[in-house]
Every structure is written in structure tokens, then in C-alpha cells.
């Protein structure tokens, strides 16, 4: 439960923290790759539409739930939807916490590569594939850097909302923007870099008729902005009474989308500038997130003048953006524990210790990490459905009225249509992901022991769903209620 002194000090502080939450490693290593693989220009148009249709309404829903209930995901569902739906908040919380376990490992990778860049390990002639395999095959190293990542996050979170989270993000977020801008300007002065920009913005408008472009755009919007994770709900708990929801939702979603575009304007020209040929550049863009970042770019960075310094700046941007997102996940866990009566310092230490121990399997085995990324990444779409259910239960118009009462802009009927569309979008994206997984493993898609099979997703989700439903009464009983019953007050006014 948030105390009275735990509010953001200003609108800028809140927006920067939310930008830090939304802008993670995926914006740097996934967005440029996905936009390149989906016709460039048409994807950017589709992504903008997806941001407005999916991410903005979802951010509004999370914000109104956090701001009115002043509790973490579990308490917010109990209060906003009803005690019988408390388990939905628990699902959302656990889904995000399971992501935190391996996300800390990924943050550790970025920190390790930052040290490689700074100490000159990334130099001309380096066998970057061997370096990556050696690092990920050395559990003592991956576990150590995972420990460093979660340790830094816990240290910042213990500092509190204003002195920890807000202060850190006021440094981190502008630094990410400046680093990406430096990277972009620097790279664009190099030969062949403009080919990357041409590739990014190729105006092949026929791509707008391709289902794949729209599916990838909605998937990217769902994951990138962090809407539906419960993270915005967590940060909204610390908003002050007069803080806006409507305009801030647009600001955060568009800041995330714009920063992704900035990252793509740096990364794609970089790939084309450092590649010996256009074919090699296109091949690199198909080498997966970690392949592109840790093998390909690490190999060719030193080909550029002052390439080691450039590599250092790039991995610094990656490490701090991953850290800012990790902070929000730790905060989500800490806030939920706080609702069970555990003080902030103790909750942060419990979260860090738990994340460290339960993150070890992902640090130990990259296959396990891939499995968890697939299972809980797609699981977030289910979290989105629960948020939509929270709105249906209270009446879409009622919730829109609550949002308007807390907004500096008028949120019109379009919000209703977007919320109605959420289950449809969910079914299409979810069906597409399952279909893809079935085509990857035509003979064993049902097998729960296969790394990326629908079978493993269903098994792990079922276990979590059963656990949270069984514990629903316990959650509901143990959760402390906030002093001010704002939800009821607002609902009475409706």
C-alpha cells in the first residue's frame, strides 16, 4: 500500500519513470529487426495505429485502476472488480514477476557487454560468436551479472519512489535518448549508413494489405509499451490526486514509440554501415534479437573508427534501458508485498533474493530463458484480457467517465470501441502465435517439454491459473485495504 509521502514529485518525474518502464531492451534489439522484416514504412504506420488502439486504452485502464485503488495488482483487482476476481490481479502480478526473473539475467548480459566494450575486449578481428558462447556457457559469469543487475535494481527501489525510482529515471531516460541520438548521428556520417534509413522508411504501401505486418505491429505494441503488464498500474499508485490520465497515456505510449523509432534510426544504419555487403546486413537482421546484438554488432563495431567507444555507448544504452524496465518489475513485486503488510525495505530484499534464486535457471541455461520468454511473454496477452474484464465488469462508460474525471483531455467514445476490440485483437494475435508455434513443431507442438511449444505454454499457464484460483480467498483475506475508499467514492458520483 502506498504511503502518503510516496507520490511522484512532478508530472515530468512520473512521465520519465513511465518512459523508463516502457523503453526496454526490446525497443533496442527487437523493434529495429521487426520493422526491417515487415516492409519498413507500412509497419511504422500499422505500429502507430496499434499503439493508439491497444496500448493507449490499456494504459488508461491500468492508470485508473492504480490511481483509484492505490494498491498493487492483487489489491487493485479485489477493490476495482471484486473479491472473487482477486486471482486475476495475482495472475498479472506473477506473470510479470516470472518475466522479472529472466529479465534480470538479460540486463546482466547487457552489463557484461558494456564491460567488454569499455575494457576493449570488443576489438577488430574478435570472434564474437565464440565470445558469446563462452559467456553464456559460463554460469558463474551469467549468474554473477544477473546478481549485479537485480542488486542495483533492489538498491534503487529501497530508496523509495522519489529518491529511488524517480531520481534514477531522471538520469537514465534522458541518457538513453542522448546516447541513441549520438549513435544515430555518428553512424549516419559513415558510408552506406543511409541505406539503412532507406530500408527503414521504404514506402512500400502495399505492405499495409499484409496480415503479417498488422499482426507484428500489434504484437510489438502490446509488448513494447508495457501496457497490460500491471507496471503502469503500479506507477499510477503514486500519482497525485490532480494528475492527468488521458494526456499522460498518449505521452507515454508515443514517447515509447518515438524512442523505438529513434533506436531503429540508429541500429539499421549501423547494421548497414558495419556490414561488408548489403546481403550480410540483411542476413544479420534475420539473426534473432541476441544474435544481432551480441554476435553481429559486437563483431562489426570495431570496423568503424572509434568502434570500441561506439560499442561501449551502445551497450551502455542497452544496459540502462533494461535496468529502467527491471526497476518497474521489482517495484510491482514490492508494492504487492507491501499490500500484505511487509515494509518497503524488507519487500525489496525479499524480491531481490527471490528474483536472484529463481532467475538462476535462466542464467544457467539460455534454452530455459527462451522458454520462459515465450511462455510469460505470450501470457501477458491474457493479462490484457483481465484488464478488459475489469472494465466490462464496471461498465465501459462508467470507467470512461472515471478516466475523464481524472483527465486534462476528453476521452471520447473511441475508448469504448478500443476496449470492445481488445478480446478480438487478443484472439487474433494469440491464435497467430499458437499457429506459428504449431508450424515450428508440427509433430510435437502438444509436447509440454519442448522449449517453444504451445504445450509448454498451456501447462505452465494452467499451473499458475490453478494456483491463483485456489489461493483467491487467501489473497482476498490477507490483502490490506487502503484508508481512502476512492473507488467507491468515484463510483458513487457516477
Amino acid at each position: 500500500m502506498a504511503g502518503q509521502n510516496d507520490n511522484w514529485s512532478s508530472r515530468v518525474g512520473f512521465i520519465l519513470a513511465s518512459m523508463g518502464m516502457a523503453f526496454g531492451a526490446g525497443n533496442i534489439w527487437r523493434f529495429p529487426r521487426v520493422v526491417a522484416a515487415n516492409d519498413g514504412g507500412p509497419f511504422l504506420i500499422a505500429f502507430f495505429v496499434a499503439t493508439v488502439v491497444w496500448a493507449v486504452p490499456m494504459l488508461m485502464i491500468e492508470m485508473i485502476m492504480g490511481k483509484t485503488t492505490r494498491q498493487g495488482t492483487i489489491g487493485a483487482f479485489k477493490k476495482f472488480v471484486g473479491p472473487r476476481s482477486t486471482w486475476m490481479g495475482a495472475w498479472i502480478g506473477f506473470c510479470c514477476i516470472f518475466i522479472m526473473f529472466y529479465y534480470s539475467v538479460v540486463t546482466g548480459w547487457a552489463i557484461r557487454y558494456l564491460t567488454y566494450g569499455v575494457t576493449g575486449v570488443i576489438r577488430k578481428g574478435i570472434d564474437s560468436e565464440a565470445l558469446w558462447k563462452h559467456f553464456t556457457g559460463s554460469p558463474e559469469q551469467t549468474i554473477f551479472f544477473h546478481f549485479i543487475a537485480i542488486g542495483i535494481a533492489a538498491f534503487i527501489i529501497i530508496g523509495g519512489v522519489q529518491k529511488g525510482l524517480e531520481r534514477a529515471n531522471k538520469i537514465i531516460v534522458p541518457s538513453i535518448i542522448v546516447l541513441l541520438a549520438i549513435l544515430m548521428v555518428w553512424v549516419l556520417t559513415k558510408p552506406h549508413a543511409v541505406e539503412g534509413l532507406e530500408y527503414l522508411f521504404r514506402p512500400n504501401l502495399a505492405g499495409l494489405l499484409k496480415a503479417k505486418v498488422w499482426l507484428n505491429a500489434f504484437t510489438q505494441a502490446a509488448w513494447s509499451v508495457g501496457a497490460g503488464w500491471g507496471l503502469m498500474l503500479t506507477y499510477a499508485v503514486y500519482m497525485s490526486e490532480h494528475d492527468d490520465i488521458g494526456a499522460n497515456s498518449f505521452v507515454i505510449a508515443l514517447a515509447d514509440a518515438g524512442s523505438s523509432l529513434l533506436a531503429a534510426m540508429g541500429i539499421l544504419p549501423l547494421v548497414f554501415a558495419v556490414s561488408p555487403s548489403r546481403e550480410v546486413a540483411l542476413q544479420a537482421l534475420q539473426s534473432g534479437d541476441t544474435g544481432l546484438t551480441f554476435i553481429y554488432l559486437a563483431k562489426f563495431f570495431p570496423n568503424l573508427p572509434a568502434g570500441s567507444l561506439l560499442a561501449g555507448l551502445f551497450f551502455l544504452a542497452l544496459a540502462i534501458s533494461a535496468l529502467a524496465s527491471l526497476l518497474s518489475m521489482v517495484e510491482l513485486a514490492v508494492l504487492n508485498l507491501g499490500d500484505f503488510g511487509i515494509n518497503r525495505r524488507k519487500a525489496a530484499l525479499i524480491t531481490a533474493a527471490g528474483a536472484f534464486i529463481l532467475g538462476i535457471p535462466s542464467a544457467w541455461s539460455i534454452s530455459f530463458q527462451d522458454n520462459q520468454d515465450m511462455v510469460w511473454g505470450v501470457g501477458l496477452l491474457i493479462s490484457g484480457i483481465f484488464f478488459a474484464y475489469a472494465v466490462y465488469k464496471n461498465g465501459i462508460d462508467n470507467v470512461r467517465g472515471m478516466i475523464n474525471d481524472s483527465s486534462w483531455i476528453h476521452v471520447g467514445k473511441w475508448f469504448n470501441w478500443c476496449v470492445i476490440a481488445i478480446p478480438v485483437i487478443f484472439i487474433i494475435i494469440f491464435g497467430w502465435w499458437v499457429f506459428q508455434a504449431v508450424t515450428w513443431y508440427p509433430d510435437s507442438w502438444w509436447n509440454p517439454w519442448k522449449k517453444l511449444s504451445p504445450g509448454t505454454m498451456v501447462l505452465q499457464w494452467s499451473l499458475l491459473i490453478m494456483a491463483v484460483i485456489l489461493l483467491n480467498k487467501w489473497f482476498s483475506k490477507k490483502i490490506s485495504l487502503t484508508d481512502t475508499d476512492l473507488v467507491d467514492e468515484i463510483k458513487e458520483k457516477m
Binding site: 519498413g40 534509413l197 527503414l200 522508411f201 505521452v251
Partner: protein, 37 residues
């Protein structure tokens, strides 16, 4: 760069960052009209 790609770049930067700036500049209304739902 082709002129099509340049137009697309200007358009996308305008939409993404223009929208960001537009909503960032919204201020708290002095008097809230409670009937505007």
C-alpha cells in the same frame, strides 16, 4: 535516399514526435466541466 523514403521519414517523425509534443503540452484545465463525459 529516395524521395518516397524521405517523405515517409518526415511523416513518421511528425506523427510520433508531433503527437508526443501535442499531448505533453496539455495543461490542467482551470475549471473542470463535469458534464463532458
Amino acid at each position: 535516399m529516395s524521395s518516397g523514403a524521405v517523405i515517409m521519414m518526415v511523416l513518421m517523425l511528425g506523427v510520433y514526435f508531433g503527437g508526443f509534443i501535442y499531448f505533453s503540452l496539455r495543461k490542467e484545465p482551470k475549471k473542470r466541466d463535469s458534464t463532458r463525459k
